[in-house]
């Protein structure tokens, strides 16, 4: 398995705040990797840096061996590197099916494609993916009328509609009904195994991330604190100190 994503010595400062400081990590193709760290440790900033939301100060980011740190957001997304948001972002006035349709990746943006009627197969594909995340019954509801947790599921389905190679998930289970969490873990594993999508997951729920990830990175104060298997991370004193405070 090759390396799909490589973050090489990335720095990102906001004024005096050192959000990311010399962060390096690699993600292997086809794996599920966890990214943990206390609030404000720079996890979401790192996601934003990777997908091009803001320029990085120093360092490089490679996706499938290609330098992407200077590309704009849509260009990176088109390469197959997508992210979801911690605070859900959906198109609230469109219904779920429309949310899905607009998320599909057109083969190209030629005038003909853009002004053509939306093909029937896409509707079918949307419905299937909505079934996959359990939202089929809600398909005709406006996305804005869904609950927060349902919007998170919709966002996941939208990302899958786009057929990415790699997904960056920002707290996929935050705000979700505990009874659904097992279902989501199961779906994410399926996404990884059956759809072949590499996952990089930010998560605070240790039970979730420990059962998902094969490898984990821990950030604290913008710096990479530790990396290793879930077992190693769980027993790493620096990680425990960072999360719970030094005794």
């Amino acid at each position: 398995m090759g390396i799909i994503l490589e973050v090489d010595q990335v720095y990102k400062h906001f004024g005096g705040v050192k959000a990311n400081e010399n962060v390096s990590l690699t993600v292997e193709e086809g794996s599920i990797v966890g990214l943990i760290g206390p609030n404000g440790s720079g996890k979401t900033t790192l996601f934003n840096s990777i997908v091009g939301t803001h320029p990085i100060d120093q360092g490089s980011i490679y996706f499938e061996g290609r330098e992407i740190s200077a590309l704009p957001v849509p260009a990176i997304a088109k390469l197959g590197l997508l992210r979801t948001f911690q605070q859900t972002r959906i198109y609230e006035k469109l219904n779920c099916i429309q949310n899905m349709l607009v998320s599909s990746k057109p083969e190209n943006d030629t005038v003909y494609n853009v002004f053509a009627k939306i093909p029937e197969e896409l509707t079918e594909k949307s419905e299937n993916l909505l079934k996959f995340v359990g939202l089929y019954q809600k398909r005709n509801l406006r996305a804005g009328d869904l609950s927060f947790g349902q919007q998170k599921l919709l966002e996941l389905a939208m990302a899958l509609m786009n057929e990415p190679k790699m997904l960056l998930l920002d707290e996929p289970t935050a705000g979700i009904n505990p009874t659904l969490i097992n279902g989501i873990i199961d779906r994410l594993i399926k996404v990884n195994k059956e759809f072949g999508i590499t996952l990089l997951v930010i998560e605070h729920n240790m039970r979730v991330i420990m059962s998902l990830a094969q490898k984990m990175f821990c950030l604290a104060h913008g710096q990479l604190l530790a990396e290793g298997t879930p077992e190693e991370i769980k027993n790493d004193h620096r990680v425990i100190d960072a999360y719970l405070g030094v005794q």
């Binding site: 997304a77 009627k117 786009n162």
Partner: protein
Amino acid sequence: MSKNNIIIYGLILVFGIGAPFLFPAYKLQISILWILTILALTWDIQGGQMGYNSFGNILFFGIGMYVCSSVQIGMFFPLSEWTASGGEKTFLHTTSQYFEGFTYGLILAGIIPAIVAALIGYGILGLRGHYFAICTLGIGIAAGEIAGGIELIGAGQGMTVPPWPKGIGGTELRSQFFYYLCFLTVSITFLVIKWIYQTRFGLVLNAIRDNEDKAEAMGIHTMRYKIIGWVVSAFFLGIAGGLMGNMIGYIEPTEIAFAGSTYGVFMVLMAILGGKGTLWGPVIGAAVFHIFKEGFWTFFLGWQYVALGALIIVIVIFFPEGIMGWLREKYPHRFGEVVDEADRTAQVELT
């Protein structure tokens, strides 16, 4: 097409074609209604569907107006002498010259504003929310002032448009001709926009309105879509401008062409009154607005702007979503929003 749709389209077609005979006294007013409908429909592409409140779309209307008449005149006579001498006193278009000039004029009245929209759009469509609104407001006002300083097109005095040729029928035929041209233009505009909203393009416009950052994160180059949307608006607005200039017969920079304080505001009001972000909203809004406006001018002369202001307040307070939005809330089933109550309350289960 459902039965209801056929009835609605049929009624509009019958009204559109028969109006000059049924209401001959209101022919000009109904022609202007069609122009207003174009203004509202094209404004709604940005303001309603895309969520970019533009207060400068009047720019394209004015450019279209000037381009059309300049072409009509310039094809056959020196434009500067025409505007200097008050035009039609010295030069006279033959019948064939008139229609030839008018045809080319209208085509260019669509194309040139579209190009302008692409260029300006590239520069300012990166602005969002209030910043975009204020920027377009400035552009609309500036355009009128600039046009008022260009001698070639008559500067502040304005320019006359070639008069209707003498050889053929009189004012009756003239008003008939412009009436049907307006009706044809509004029909084409409506159909094109209706079709656009059914394509991926329409969905992307809505996506930009609801969450532009998300659209970009999903790999949509939103800038392209925003520019194309504005180009479509500008094209039809320009043609509407060319028609309007010829109907009135006289172009003045700030009161008629770049009339930001009247038509520029009206197009926003009509779309909001009818329901922005809907296909039919701007059409209904234009009709209701035009009737009220003309009523105020007839019955409250002197107080017409006060009455119009009161109408605006009523619209904003009682119909924030417009007439179509209000109907949609009341009769969601009529709008294809068939949602089972069971589906709405169903718990999501993942097993």
